[in-house]
């Protein structure tokens, strides 16, 4: 998880003065989030690393023009996101986005004529695996696969908010999207990951 640097002005000054240790520190601190967000759009790790490198070179090139209107980290993330988005567009063969089809099959909820319309017919049941173990074993693959399968717009938000732990306002500026849209995308993404875990447990339930 990355935290907002205490003082952007002094970071920018150190970079402009060529302090390599400060640059290395930022690369290490923000690199993981940059890499993860690049991987939303390019599907090859080596290419994602190139995008991150290219983003840093852009940062250095444009540093003189950085006006501090947003936080330095937000600005850097915005740069990597834009590069990854255009790289991804070039790489993509087709766009299988589609609309967010209803996550649940119709029989999960009661019908309109029911005394309790649109309430659960088949409600969720507690998961057999404790939370601390969800990232172990097969559920780890289920979760990572569910994240990888999200539409890019949803995955960008999920990566920044839930995986990297950025606050909403920073995610909105880095992604150049509105607050409401951000929340809708985040909600869809989370709902899909939850559903993937549920589907996995249902499929493996002893009968």
């Amino acid at each position: 998880m990355v935290s907002t640097p205490p003082d952007d002005a002094s970071l920018v000054r150190s970079l402009r003065e060529g302090e390599e240790a400060v640059f290395a520190q930022l690369v290490d601190r923000w690199g993981p989030a940059m890499l993860r967000v690049a991987l939303v759009h390019v599907h090859n790790r080596a290419v994602a690393e190139e995008v991150v490198q290219e983003a840093w070179l852009t940062v250095l090139r444009d540093l003189a023009r950085f006006e501090g209107r947003s936080a330095l980290r937000t600005w850097v993330l915005g740069i990597v996101i834009n590069l990854a988005r255009s790289r991804g567009r070039a790489e993509r063969r087709s766009t299988p986005t589609g609309l967010d089809a209803s996550l649940f099959s119709a029989d999960r909820f009661r019908a309109l004529g029911d005394p309790w319309p649109r309430h659960w017919a088949i409600g969720p049941t507690p998961w057999p695996t404790p939370e601390q173990e969800l990232l172990a074993g097969e559920t780890r693959r289920v979760i990572l696969r569910a994240v990888a399968a999200l539409p890019p717009t949803q995955r960008e938000v999920l990566v920044l908010r839930d995986i990297e732990g950025l606050p909403a306002d920073e995610a909105c500026s880095a992604l150049a999207i509105g607050e409401t849209n951000q929340r809708v995308l985040l909600h869809r993404a989370r709902s899909r990951v939850r559903k993937a875990i549920e589907d996995y447990f249902h499929a493996t339930e002893p009968t």
């Binding site: 060529g18 640059f23 409600g123 507690p126 939370e131 839930d162």
Partner: protein, 84 residues
């Protein structure tokens, strides 16, 4: 009040409000209705808890890091940039 809380906010709508609830973006009225429903409906309470578990679990995915080679290349590029 219990039946009213459930009828006014069907489960299918409640689950779409979970992120708004967690981000504290519901109006006081909607928030009260949400919480009243959760208090009465075991399924939705489970759903909410599973969303929280999902979010916390996503936050525990280990960090990605740049390869040493990519990092070295960058530091070299920084030195080049500095000497320009």
């Amino acid at each position: 009040m219990s039946d009213n809380a459930l009828i006014e906010l069907p489960c299918q709508d409640l689950i779409e409000l979970v992120t708004d609830y967690l981000e504290d973006r519901l109006t006081p009225v909607d928030r009260a209705r949400f919480e009243a429903h959760i208090a009465e409906c075991e399924y939705c309470a489970t759903y909410l808890e599973q969303m929280r578990m999902t979010i916390r679990t996503l936050g525990r995915i280990p960090e990605e890091s740049l390869s040493d080679r990519a990092r070295d290349d960058l530091l070299r590029a920084f030195r080049d940039w500095r000497s320009e």
